[in-house]
């Protein structure tokens, strides 16, 4: 059996439809969504309703949380004043567009979805706002997976798809008990753990404009990163027609994040 994992749809209906069609063509029935259904993109209601209609198990992303709890719920720093102002503008626009019913749906989403030894989160097991970057410290990465009790951790948020295998990890514990002269030492060898980032359906930033998601082939335990072309012009027209900043359309059509430079997603949320 195979299942698909999608993330960071960002109100991009054309991209979401294209990815779901790609999944359907392969006969995959099980899909998990890692959140950020809304934010920056022009069709938040349509995307939320599509996910609801397809009854796709979904965990809550940082944008989904912020649109419910208000901007102050996220203390994540933007990389620049320009990015912050654009982010706030997109937040206000999305807040005004989104129906109460769809807001209630976003509010109901869980932080994590678990299936046996697979854990699905938006950012990290600690927070929807934490970035698990592909080159983060190996010990910290292993800690995130191991402490959550998962073999494989599926995440999104960075908009860059990757598979990172964490092997050769061990924990050494030295204990000196009362009455004993020498401390006893134990060493635990950890089995391989894995972080899989699903990339982004609606706001790719992996060097191409194509939507990305991943397929987990459970029989072989292999991960396949998929890229899907979609009608970007349709989304760009919706951005302009909807009254969002026109520069968002330019950035999307060139494969840059809406409000940040493409080569600067390295800031780490301290929330």
């Amino acid at each position: 059996m195979s299942h698909a994992v999608i993330s960071c749809l960002h109100a991009n209906l054309a991209a979401t439809e294209a990815v779901l069609a790609d999944i359907d063509r392969q006969g995959i029935e099980h899909i998990t969504c890692l959140g950020d259904l809304v934010g920056y993109g022009p069709q938040p209601n349509e995307v939320v309703e599509l996910i609801r209609q397809r009854q796709i198990p979904t965990c809550q992303g940082c944008w989904d949380e912020d649109i419910i709890d208000g901007l102050n719920s996220c203390e994540c720093s933007y990389p620049s004043q320009l990015a912050e102002r654009r982010g706030h503008r997109a937040h206000q626009w999305t807040d005004a567009q989104l129906s109460e019913e769809n807001k209630a749906f976003l509010a109901s989403l869980p932080m994590t979805v678990r299936r046996e030894r697979l854990l699905f989160v938006h950012g990290s097991p600690n927070s929807q706002h934490e970035y698990l970057l592909p080159d983060m410290d190996a010990f910290a990465a292993l800690e995130r997976v191991e402490s959550s009790g998962a073999d494989t951790l599926f995440c999104g948020h960075t908009h860059m798809p990757y598979v990172r295998e964490l092997s050769g990890g061990s924990i050494r514990v030295k204990v000196k008990q009362a009455g004993e002269e020498a401390a006893s030492e134990r060493k635990l060898e950890l089995p391989m753990r894995r972080i899989v980032n699903a990339g982004s359906v609606g706001e790719p930033r992996h060097g191409s404009t194509e939507a990305t998601y991943v397929i987990h082939h459970e029989d072989s335990d292999e991960i396949e990163i998929r890229e899907v072309a979609y009608d970007i012009e349709r989304t760009c027209r919706a951005i302009v027609d909807g009254g969002l900043p026109e520069v968002f359309a330019w950035r999307l059509s060139h494969g840059f994040e809406y409000a940040e430079r493409a080569d600067d997603a390295s800031h780490v949320c301290e929330r």
Partner: protein
Amino acid sequence: MAQTWLISGPPGCGKTTWMLNTLKNHQGQRGYLRLPGISTAGLEQADDGGIDQTYLQDQITDLIDLSNTDQAPNDQEQQLNLVELTQFEPPSSSALEGVDSSVIQQLEALGLRLDRALHFGRDDDLPKDDTLEFSRLEAWSMPLERCVWDPNSLSSFWFELVNGAYGDVYRAKALMNLPDGRAFFCNWMVSQGGSQFLPLESVAPPDGRPKRCSMLSVQGKALDGGGIQATIADCLLSDEVLELHQEPQRQQAELTQAL
């Protein structure tokens, strides 16, 4: 006797850089003048707003401003005067007779007489790498005096500007102030691989908004001036935020003085 040379060429061909290097290497007194360019059909001249003058003056502190006839003599022995002129089409003749009569008149009014005229793309004494021919060119500029940029926002804005988010930009240059008192000469040309960000030598004190020349000048096609302006508004620091940057600088300066 002083030597006075006219250096002309299309936008972004490297006039200012060549003049800076030539003036820096000259042993005697040095003078500079920028003349307003001559627009022709469909080819608009950019409003430089003093960007080149300010940058050169910063790099060569004793540079004589030839537009100011009261400042200093312009005909000292071994003095080299360079006159910059943006001119799209090569002059009709390589000799001084090819220089436009309006240029001669402007120079005579300042007491200057040309000894030599060099044009980028024509004369072998000048580099040819970046000389482009334009068929149509719009110009857009925005004065930014006393404006201070959020540094990361400036980086994002410049990236968008030169990569086409606000129209087909062929040429962009600017003097931009940062909150630490530094200013940068930002320079980009479509034929070049990347942008130049050259710091000025002079640093403004952490005492409110800097008073030096600051300006953005862009040339290209289908320029979205409204879009540029809107983005710039999101990049500039308010008085309150600027003060947050400057207060620690003042405290640091006081501490350094006390030691």
